[in-house]
Assembly symmetry: C2
Homo-oligomer: 352 residues x 2
Amino acid sequence: MCAVTRAASGRSPQRVRMVDVARAAGVSQPTASRVLSGDLRVTRESREAVLAAASEMGYVVNRAASSLAGNRTNSVGFVIAEPGSHLWGNPYFPRLMAGITAELNARRQQLVLFMPQSRVEERQLVDYLLAGHVDGVLMTTSRNRDPLLRALLDAHVPVVVGGRPIGIRGASFVDVDNERAAYEATLHLLDSGYRHVATIAGPPQTAAGKDRLVGYRRAITEREGKHAELREMVAIDFSQPAGEAAAADILMRWPDTDAIFAAADLLCFGALITLKLQGLAVPSRIGLVSFDDSEPNALSHPPLTSVSQPVERLGTTMVQMLFEQMAGDGQPRDEVLDTSLVIRESSTGPGA
Amino acid sequence: MCAVTRAASGRSPQRVRMVDVARAAGVSQPTASRVLSGDLRVTRESREAVLAAASEMGYVVNRAASSLAGNRTNSVGFVIAEPGSHLWGNPYFPRLMAGITAELNARRQQLVLFMPQSRVEERQLVDYLLAGHVDGVLMTTSRNRDPLLRALLDAHVPVVVGGRPIGIRGASFVDVDNERAAYEATLHLLDSGYRHVATIAGPPQTAAGKDRLVGYRRAITEREGKHAELREMVAIDFSQPAGEAAAADILMRWPDTDAIFAAADLLCFGALITLKLQGLAVPSRIGLVSFDDSEPNALSHPPLTSVSQPVERLGTTMVQMLFEQMAGDGQPRDEVLDTSLVIRESSTGPGA
DNA sequence: ACGAAGCGTGAATGCGCATTCACATGATGC
DNA sequence: GCATCATGTGAATGCGCATTCACGCTTCGT
């Protein structure tokens, strides 16, 4: 009767249960549970017997039963709360998701994806996340005082943000050292012999935009004194057309500019187009350094010097911090990852 | 609000259960279950009482318990099995995911994301999906005879593919009518007065690349006879640099070309850059039609005529078909969605 | 040497819900 | 008028696993 019921209800009529594995291994079901969940308080004999039986019988745990009994979902939410899809143009997101999924796989956790497209969907999402359908939340946001993040923090839902959130304190986050990276990138241009280094800055409401601009300023003033001329052009977003426009504006306002630090790859591609259209050679007339080091950088003409971010590691670190937070005292923590400058032809020096 | 907050912690001893709601509503727990799962065989009185009690007590179903008892997971997998991340450069994926998540939300289903980055991860993923951790699978693939898709079909896991899969029969899929769209786009250029229409085709190993090329050919030969000159330049991928190179090749090989149909937005942006560098005015000297109609098209100079795809609807349709498949006989089915041509300045005719 | 502590184990319990089944209605057939 | 049916409902059951608890065994410490 029991077998009949199982056969009728599922498409796997003879689904193997943990107790079946346990019996085959000659141990009790709780012992099998301990083995399969990595509990160390099991003799090697029992462990090996269970693992052998499990693999032989093709056993896989039933996530629902595991969750129900364990009072956790074994899944974490990933919220991409970016207005529009401007950030999808660069490879940041796929790399981040690759890092996150890899680390979650290793922990046998599921990644549940959310992309709220409107205020209404966002409210529903808050309800959903607060309802305990996930154990914790990973998110990215470029909004000031993100209400979704605020709601999660207020409800004490474990959450880790990718990139420093703006306008909200008390959130755990992982970020790269944008300021230092921009500082070093600018310094590299100065060291290569360029004299009038401008920057195409990202939107000031984003942490990345802000921090990279600060790094640029620090490099310039450190080298040229407090009265150095800062040549800053803020792009309206991280897009290529914005880069084109910003580069044109820079050249119009400061015609003797001989190097540009662009705060993102797409901005740099845009700048490169403008320079080509105006017949300005790179790197002899204008030096160029970019930020992100996406794949096309190396294939560009000329290949672009660029700041390389450990995006995958950012993702894995987010996951690690989330689990620390869920296991520990829940105190907010943050981690800042280092970048590296990949030097290519676009910055080999003026007059070459 | 307080009840919701308590529920968020998961480990809360006071979590509201369905039986609590039922008691408060003066009915039995099975009746509450029927109400909350949309079963119609309940009197309006019972229904209203249950819904009122549920919302008042901040009740939310426990997905794990629901899955365990119902013998289904209430979640579907979304597999992005694209090698590298070349397809992330355009807004196709975020739009597709927006459509999918919206439809799944409405059905109270979870979206579990997978992005296998290596053969090893892919094998693990197959095991995972075959283990019954999801009820069905949505996927995109641009690979010929995708082994992951093959494995899912062989194991009779419900699956719907976004875009026509190449080299595998028997899979349900949703696609847009690429051939007809390309046909109409090419015809539009001819109707606008251009005489020598070339095309930048996508990679021939992709269905989109193939079908759009076929549509171009059909339009040309239909208008100019069987001995018409086909000016086809195949791009190595759907990237902007590939578009730049292809456009340059076209102009070198057929200098009197006066219009280009590009099989993707990024290819078209690349072509536009080449045209600008060579001083060829758009649309007076060269007409341009693109494919995808991503946001930057309208902001380009000049704004680009482009084929607009109902990508969100493609996503929602994928979900609908998946559930039909799970409920029905499991026979493969496919659906082809129509596109529309958005006419802008880039194709207003020669000599204007 | 003897009690204390540590360790591996299994019987029992319950997680929260969907489903089944039998019963009690009231409506409908003849 | 009674038999038939459709319909709404509740008691009982079980989904598959994690956890608790108590028991026996081993290893210490003094």
